[in-house]
Amino acid sequence: MNAPRSIDDYLKQLRVALEGQDPALMQDALYDAEEYLRAEVAAHPGKSEADVLELIASTYGAPDEVAAAYRDTEAKVKAALRTPAPPAAASTSPLRRFFGVYLDPRSYTALFYMLLTLATGIVYFTFVVTGLSLSAGFAILIIGVPFFLAFIGIARVIALGEGRLLEGITGQRMPRRPVHPGPAAGWWTRIGEMLKDVRTWTTLAYLLIMLPLGIIYFTLAITGLSVSAAFIGMPLLLLAQRLVWSHFDFADDITIAGVPGIPDSIPSDHPIFASVLLFVAGLIILTTLMHLARALVRGHASLAKSLLVVPGA
């Protein structure tokens, strides 16, 4: 490989050297290099870009050296910070595998994320719809241009935040830096770049679909949680009825009003047996929900990555 003669050249070579790495890592590495190179060129106003780049190999490092450093550090950090795999995952018993989900911290964070998405979905959706319509409205005014730039800038920061959140929850590697507007250029050139950039549109699309997705996730999580809580609490309720409230004239029936598929009351002949059955059913529903949450949010993180991260930067 020839020694790079310009910043773009260097970044191109670095991209080639990082080929096959995680796109989020590539984006970080390229931005780090670009920050350094631009600052270095700016710090030597007397020298040409090519002259400065000649020095770079001995200070910053050649592209393949830098790529190797990123690969090594990334592998080490990943190994050190990875959430330990749930011990049950290794065991072969299907029953232990099924209930092992409770030992995996990610299933709890995934469930939390599902509940959170309703709120974030509403905020994102409102932000995009308001931003787009105001941009369209302002387009004929002089403030239309800075408004649109600010709107897209904020959308990119939101995308970064969403990525960091998802990485925290699922371990899916996401970028550490927001997409940046590139070297200083006129406002019109910047707007042109933004409009041409596919990532701008996929980011906005992601923020929009977060509302319907958030509604679905939230509904699934809340329904699963409340139904299983009601079922699991049934023996307790029965006990309370028997022990505490027995002097009130309660019927022995357990009533679950409005849950489809469940009779409105359980015959009083075997209330204990029935409540234990419900308890087991509740436990199964809750465990299934935890599995579902983990899988769903993992899938969601892949979707987010495909829409928010620049492929090959």
Binding site: D28, A29, D32, E34, E35, Y36, R38, V66, H180
Partner: protein
């Protein structure tokens, strides 16, 4: 051959030392620093041949931040990508003290042998 072995030795040494040096730089700085500034401080400190390439400090900074030893914030920049400014945390300071002790012990221990063979 000679040269590549020397380089490999340097690289093995660096894997832990870069982190220690970075913590030291950020601890002694009164303000938050971003990658390029840190790189320049290192460059000023070491006259002549650099012990490690500045391109290798960015992933290490990120690793330290992921371990909670540094905090960071992103600041937009007109001249290029947004900059990530780093600051050492209390946890980072106590880690720096521990690591410095380990480094002093190691250095003393190694020196005893190297200087022993010299004498």
């Amino acid at each position: 051959m000679d040269d590549s072995l020397a380089r490999k030795f340097q690289k093995d040494l660096n894997s832990g030392l870069v982190a220690l040096v970075l913590l030291g730089v950020l601890d002694s700085s009164s303000e938050d620093l971003y990658g390029y500034e840190i790189a320049k401080r290192l460059q000023r400190a070491n006259q002549g041949e650099a012990l490690f390439k500045e391109g290798t400090i960015y992933p290490v900074l990120r690793a330290l931040a992921a371990q909670g030893l540094l905090t960071s914030r992103v600041v937009p920049s007109y001249s290029g990508p947004p900059r990530r400014y780093y600051r050492i945390t209390d946890e980072g300071r106590s880690m720096l003290r521990q690591w410095s002790d380990i480094w002093r012990q190691t250095r003393g221990f190694v020196d005893r042998f190297i200087e022993g063979t010299d004498a």
